[in-house]
Symmetry: C2
Subunit: 245 residues, 2 copies
């Protein structure tokens, strides 16, 4: 069972835009493309070149003469539209629609998402066919997106539901964040070097200065490699100091 929504382009005008849509789909891990009555050949050189390594999606794309045929085997269909229509329908944000798609798919219901032709967007009759609308939240004074960008935003929201990424993470590559024993040992080394060169002007000021210095380095979550780098830096600086004096 396919676990993805079908991306359905209704009357796309330019092969290049179909190619760019395939590229945007691949960015988002979406592979199922349906075309309703495309004006140009979606396997033209232009289309394939615009797809930038997503030719596979173009090759597997299904072409239909009418929208009714393109959605016949689906169970739930979203229409994307930037302008409000005089229709009583549920409107979802792109992220909410992505959740809905997953809920349907989990029940073995196939979902499709309709995108209209480049200049005009979906015809009212095509919007009417859909179960619900996706409205991408954008600056109301400038909602015009090109076709592939609309697919990219909707696809991006869907892709985000498929993965688990830490919203913030420290990449440490081959080294690792040092444990507290290692960090404390480094602090003590630094402080003894500073003591020796007379940096702590008075015993009274020392505790505060030690805390301030420790805070600078603690915010960095130092790795083992970085602590070694800092040992080297301090040794070099103190040797320099010795050489100068």
């Amino acid at each position: 069972m396919n676990n993805q929504p079908y991306i359905i382009l209704v009357n796309p005008q330019l092969a290049e835009n179909v190619g760019m849509t395939a590229r945007a789909m691949m960015n988002c891990g979406l592979y199922y493309l349906r075309l309703v009555n495309p004006r140009e050949n979606h396997l033209s050189e232009k289309a394939i070149s615009a797809s930038s390594n997503a030719e596979e999606i173009l090759q597997k794309a299904e072409v239909f003469a009418t929208l009714d045929e393109a959605i016949a085997d689906l169970h739930f269909v979203f229409a994307t539209t930037a302008r409000r229509r005089d229709m009583i329908k549920n409107i979802h944000t792109a992220d909410n629609a992505a959740q809905e798609v997953n809920t349907k798919i989990a029940k073995n219901e196939k979902c499709g998402i309709l995108f209209g032709p480049e200049r005009t967007g979906l015809h009212n009759d095509d919007v009417a066919i859909a179960d619900a609308i996706i409205e991408i939240p954008l600056n109301p004074e400038h909602t015009s997106l090109n076709l592939s960008q609309a697919v990219l935003l909707v696809g991006y929201e869907w892709y985000k539901t498929q993965i688990k990424v830490e919203s913030k993470q420290l990449i440490t590559n081959k080294t690792e964040v040092a444990d507290k024993k290692t960090v404390t040992k480094f602090f003590e080394f630094l402080e003894s070097e500073l003591e020796e060169c007379g940096n702590f002007k008075s015993d009274e000021k020392k505790p505060r200065m030690v805390r301030n210095l420790r805070n600078i380095f603690l915010r960095s979550e130092l790795t083992e490699q970085e602590i070694n780098t800092l040992y080297g830096v301090i040794n070099y600086l103190t040797n320099n100091q010795n050489n100068k004096s």
Copy 2:
């Protein structure tokens, strides 16, 4: 005080891409563009045409000779990059970065977001200059985005933090969802019509059928206008029935 991040294009190659970036920025309500050593004129006809009504952003764009100059007055800088570098840095998802930007701006700290040149992305030295990295979560087998699309995704996440939209809403246009009194009256009318024409085959089956019918219409959250439409439909059907018999 400017409440937006600065979008900083480092060595952009094609004027057309700068124009498309301006368009994507306007989609997301972002107006502050900085260009570092652009190869082509960002006010060329090509650029302005590609910006599709976002010429204002191009006209106001600031041009700098070096990245250092472009970020000199900023307090926190993100670098966007699709591939991992051999650097120990915090990586944020685009949505988390948007929150961070807002937190900084609320403290009167100016934020910038760096985007690299089209083919190569940011040079390691430019990534090193940044305080943190934004990595847009995308299909790891196909992360290549064009410049304006990368700006669009990062901008979209920021725009979402600026607005309050219901994730799902029923648009009813000029009519309103009917109150329960109105809905119940309609149900009673429908059921009495069905009673009359013999639709409820037995008294035993009737309660279940009534419940099933009511559920169909309740899921639609009918508006007043739609209830009037349904009254018309039923009256028409029953008259037809009468005419036939």
